[in-house]
Subunit: 182 residues, 2 copies
Amino acid sequence: MALPQAIMTALIDDDMSGIDLARSFEASLGLYWRASHQQIYQDLHKLADKGWLNRREVAQSGKPPKIIYGLTAAGRQALAEWVYAQSKLQPAKDDLMIKLYNLSSENVTHLIAEIEARREQTMQKLYLFEKIRRAHYFEPHTLPVRRQGVYLALLAAIRDGEQHLQWCDEAQRLLARVEAGA
Amino acid sequence: MALPQAIMTALIDDDMSGIDLARSFEASLGLYWRASHQQIYQDLHKLADKGWLNRREVAQSGKPPKIIYGLTAAGRQALAEWVYAQSKLQPAKDDLMIKLYNLSSENVTHLIAEIEARREQTMQKLYLFEKIRRAHYFEPHTLPVRRQGVYLALLAAIRDGEQHLQWCDEAQRLLARVEAGA
DNA sequence: TCAGGCAGTGCAATTTTCTGCATAGCGGCC
DNA sequence: GGCCGCTATGCAGAAAATTGCACTGCCTGA
């Protein structure tokens, strides 16, 4: 639903190619909206057809040429208007939780392992986020307005990660007791 | 991907009709997997075709008859096996964060309002969860194994809500400054 | 020199999800 | 007795997302 807007948002500061977008998604916006490159390419076409993006081909030495996309004035305006649209609440899908509803003395061990995996993923992300924060958002109040918004999004991700880590700890403690008692 | 499993999970303890499931989803499992009744009905058919659910029609006085679904032995086994399948990491979509990437002195006021709305939704949910927790999960260690898993899922939702509330506070403080400075 | 790999773009088929509507029974209203 | 609204189930079409593959061009290494 909001993927086209997420793409345009990624293009606010810099023009990018499809691949660049796909990669940038994984690092930053992808926290809030995951997308495969196929999806991105398709939406790039649609957005260009609408006149919200322009495209130009750029030759690269030693590599196939890229198609660089940039926001048009119309695109910027459409994006600005979209911000006022109503957000609906999030799906928030997590099948690990469904699995927990199926906890048994048989599958405890497996679930402990799954939580451990998730904990490690979360730690890795957190490490990255904190690095970004220190590098670019050390004094958020002094940043330009738009960057302060980005900071808030980053902060949400960090807090979320920290909280999730704590939950993993507690879950593993409880599951360890279940495992021992089984 | 996991909706069929979520449906089966909801049927572990009690047999239910499509409507009951849809409602129960909103209250409990829906925290982790949202589904409309249309989706649920369709998957119920598929699951019944596979032999994982059985169906029986029950007449109701003053209402149209219901079709009650229940897990078969094959269904229980399929569900138990699914727990061991690999979970992939979550999409985690949130267009409010995308909007924050577009923060400007023009739309601050709107974004403050959106965050306020979200804060209220979160508070309402939290209130409900805490009520459930107090009523049914006051002493988690004494519960049967499966219920302890449900408790952990509930705990995740509560922690998440609390954390999100704090973030809303902080975001609103920062945005208020932006608004004042504009 | 040619086989393999990678970067970059893209198509096609399928599945999942959302939106809007259809139907059928019953109760209450006035 | 006709209209409205509620419950319960369901269909159909469109949009969004996933999966798997295809093509090009250039570089590297054997």
